[in-house]
């Protein structure tokens, strides 16, 4: 349908003849041209606005300390990107590499396990009947209503009682349970896994766990990916939780480490180039991942919007 509309529109525009012959055709063409220019000019201006900070970061990361302040923001100084990167990874015995590794643990491992738990729970809510199921699901829905960040401090108090603050668990455990993920996984399970398939597997003698692992899980793979992306982004953005839970620099995720470098710029301005290059290195994999995984976040966004 949309292609049809598109062609009818283009023909109308390309011929330049308006549908009603009494209207003179000449004034209309320049007006269309003018509004086309105006529309695209506005879009280009806004694209410059959204792209400017990242491009500035890219240029600033190539400068040494002196050029950072001495040259204009968008003009290049001496090319020092490699030595900046070298400095980021060697400063303080290479703690930045450690932060990157920690981030991988928190964000990748944490999100993978959390998505798996959500998918399993959602699948169970959808396909099994058990006592108090809807009540339990009501509890999950109540969990969806209260945003996680709001409960960070109670979680900290609980963790400090259990002696878990300042450990990997302090950030991992809260991220494992995701009520919204369970809710979404139930919807996915309803949509992707037909009962007949489960029945067939049972008749063939597969156990419940095997049915889930070999049959349902592969069918739920796109849902898993969407959940993983949601949870990954949340974990990456979880500055508040990390700030509250962690004290030990060796356990910091990269964003908390960058925050520390950023704070120290007030006393030692040479930290600026570390903070800038460190930010760039942290952002690049994410930007690439977003470009590659477009399909998934698009479907995730619309799923969230329709809900």
């Amino acid at each position: 349908m949309s292609t049809q509309t598109l062609t009818s529109r283009t023909t109308e525009r390309s011929t330049g003849t308006p549908p009603v012959p009494t209207t003179p055709s000449r004034p209309r063409a320049p007006r269309a041209w003018a509004s086309k220019t105006a529309v695209n000019a506005v879009l280009i201006m806004l694209a410059l606005y959204t792209l400017m900070p990242i491009s500035w970061l890219l240029i600033a990361a190539t400068k040494n300390r002196r050029d950072l302040f001495a040259t204009g923001g968008f003009s290049f100084g001496e090319f020092n990107l490699l030595s900046n990167i070298h400095e980021v990874f060697t400063h303080n015995d290479g703690i930045y590499g450690r932060w990157l590794l920690n981030t991988v643990i928190y964000a990748v491992v944490g999100s993978a396990i959390s998505s798996l738990i959500s998918v399993a729970a959602g699948y169970a809510f959808d396909k099994y009947a058990f006592a108090g199921k809807e009540k339990l699901f009501g509890v999950v829905l109540a969990g969806v209503l209260v945003p996680g960040a709001v409960l960070t401090l109670p979680m900290y108090l609980l963790a400090s009682k259990a002696g878990l603050t300042n450990t990997y668990w302090a950030l991992l455990i809260p991220s494992l349970v995701n009520p919204f993920g369970v809710y979404l996984a139930r919807v996915f399970s309803e949509g992707y896994v037909p009962y007949e398939v489960i029945e067939a597997a049972r008749v063939d003698g597969a156990g419940e766990i095997r049915t889930f692992r070999k049959i349902a899980l592969p069918m739920l793979a796109p849902g898993f990916m969407t959940l993983f992306l949601f949870s990954f982004t949340a974990s990456w953005n979880n500055f508040y939780g990390a700030l509250v839970m962690l004290n030990d620099k060796n356990l910091y995720p990269v964003n908390l480490g960058l925050h520390m470098w950023n704070i120290s710029t007030t006393e030692s301005p040479e930290m600026y180039s570390l903070a800038i290059t460190g930010s760039l290195i942290a952002v690049i994999p994410l930007v690439i991942a977003f470009l590659c995984l477009q399909r998934f976040w698009r479907s995730g966004l619309t799923a969230g919007a329709v809900k």
Partner: protein, 271 residues
């Protein structure tokens, strides 16, 4: 297979119970309520909500209006390179909130910032960290991060507008502007309202941007937003019980807000 469900269910109950009873109640059985009234009586706590409200008054029209305008422009027949623009607008969302705040703070810092160079070059002057300007500096960071995200949502909704309706309006002689305002916006108004409500739920948890800005713009203080208030209560005043009470009050407000959101969403789905 029941185990993870029970675990998830148990955790979500456990989380709420432990925070309420575990810390308001167990340690000091009846001091629980006193903490709540103390927090509620604290003017700093109440102003932190007021701050978020003023933030929303500035932020929501700019961000939602901008996103809607962009979506309509990209949807219009005049736009070229639609995929490129969608990507360019969405890209900031791939940048983690903290790094976005750091980049913008550097773009606000005299000496580092090309933006200040441009303003000076044009003969103006602007201090992004002054008490009067810090709110708009904060709003700008948030707009940058979220405008493309919401634009993609609106654009998806606009794609679902039946093309016959627009064709009919065109034949009737309506211009692009009238079609946008009179037809497209009313059709997608439910996604606009939902986005506004979700933005409010997000704003109540505002932390990263004011926290980072407050290092440079001292006027913002330690407890500008409710979450900042909770952190400073816990880690500067060492008042854990008070911080827990404030957290639960915030959770209550946030929960009520999201309840309203889902309610409205459901009603729309049914009608």
């Amino acid at each position: 297979m029941v185990a993870p469900v029970v675990y998830a269910g148990w955790m979500s109950v456990f989380r709420e119970r432990s925070s309420g009873l575990g810390f308001g109640g167990v340690e000091r059985t009846f001091a629980g309520l006193a903490n709540y009234s103390a927090v509620l009586a604290d003017p700093e706590f109440r102003t932190s909500f007021l701050h978020v409200a003023t933030y929303c008054v500035l932020y929501i029209p700019v961000m939602i209006g901008g996103a809607l305008g962009l979506a309509l422009l990209v949807d219009s027949a005049h736009a070229r390179a639609k995929r490129f623009f969608q990507l360019a607008f969405f890209l900031p969302h791939a940048v983690p909130g903290l790094i976005a705040a750091i980049i913008w703070i550097y773009l606000y810092t005299p000496g580092l910032s090309p933006v200040i160079e441009w303003i000076d070059g044009a003969g103006g002057s602007w201090n992004f960290f002054s008490p009067a300007n810090s709110l708009s500096s904060m709003v700008n960071i948030a707009v940058w991060q979220w405008i493309g995200y919401n634009m993609v949502i609106f654009f998806a909704a606009l794609q679902a507008v039946p093309r016959e309706v627009i064709e009919a309006a065109t034949v009737d002689g309506a211009g692009a502007w009238r079609i946008a305002v009179g037809i497209k916006v009313p059709i997608i108004r439910s996604s606009v309202v939902m986005t506004v409500l979700f933005t409010c739920v997000g704003a109540i948890q505002l932390f990263t941007e004011p926290r980072l800005l407050s290092d440079k713009a001292q006027a913002l203080g330690n407890d500008w937003s409710p979450t900042m208030y909770i952190v400073s209560k816990a880690f500067i005043d060492q008042d854990y019980a008070g911080a827990a009470a404030a957290s639960l009050l915030l959770a209550l407000v946030a929960g009520a807000l999201s309840f309203v959101v889902t309610r409205i969403g459901k009603r729309w789905q049914e009608s």
